[in-house]
Subunit: 121 residues, 2 copies
């Protein structure tokens, strides 16, 4: 059976990332290859795909690694995802009122109360 895994150097030559960056991407949890028995990183088709897609994101959309990591976090932390969704809900519609999440409504009430008080600190 043919060899299915690339070493870091081979992968580097195939995808344009330097070996240094491949190690960095692993450290950041973005592209995490398996390891051989002796500890060598092993890159397969899956990892090459990820690396290509990542390079594409940076080149075409000027996306930072931290932002891709954030997308990962959003996928993994539903509570975070919900909180961000809640924040986004407050940004889109300037005038129209539409059903907001419950806690937004009471925050709103709180602020209406605050706005009614005489500016005293």
């Amino acid at each position: 059976m043919m060899q299915r895994w690339l070493t870091i150097g081979e992968a580097s030559r195939r995808c344009g990332w330097s070996p240094r960056m491949l190690r960095y991407l692993e450290q950041e949890g973005l592209v995490v290859p398996g390891r051989s028995e002796s500890g060598y990183r092993r890159y397969g088709i899956r990892e090459l795909n990820q690396l290509n897609a990542l390079a594409e994101l940076r080149a075409r959309f000027d996306v930072e690694l931290a932002e891709v990591e954030f997308a990962l976090r959003l996928r993994r932390e539903p509570a975070l995802s919900a909180a961000v969704e809640t924040w986004l809900a407050g940004t889109s519609v300037p005038e129209a009122e539409q059903p907001a999440p419950a806690w937004v409504e009471w925050e709103q009430l709180k602020h209406e109360r605050l706005l009614a008080t005489p500016t005293a600190a």
Copy 2:
């Protein structure tokens, strides 16, 4: 009728962000208040809500502003959103095969071809 708008200083005292940061948040497009005729920023309930939610995101989830901006971009740029989704698709399932987006499949084929070639640079 009562005053419905706060100046930057008043808003600052209400939400915990410094005036400097309120200007920065506006510059980053995260919380953009309206303006009075003479150019003063006017913060209303909507903006106070956004500011609170933003502070919450930072305090509870240690989210950077750039990351929230990214969430905004995702909402506004469908192409970016699709690209990120594509990348995420390659990250989740280690062994199981499941229907991937079309271009991922041909990328995969391309790499399989590459893997079959004799490592020549």
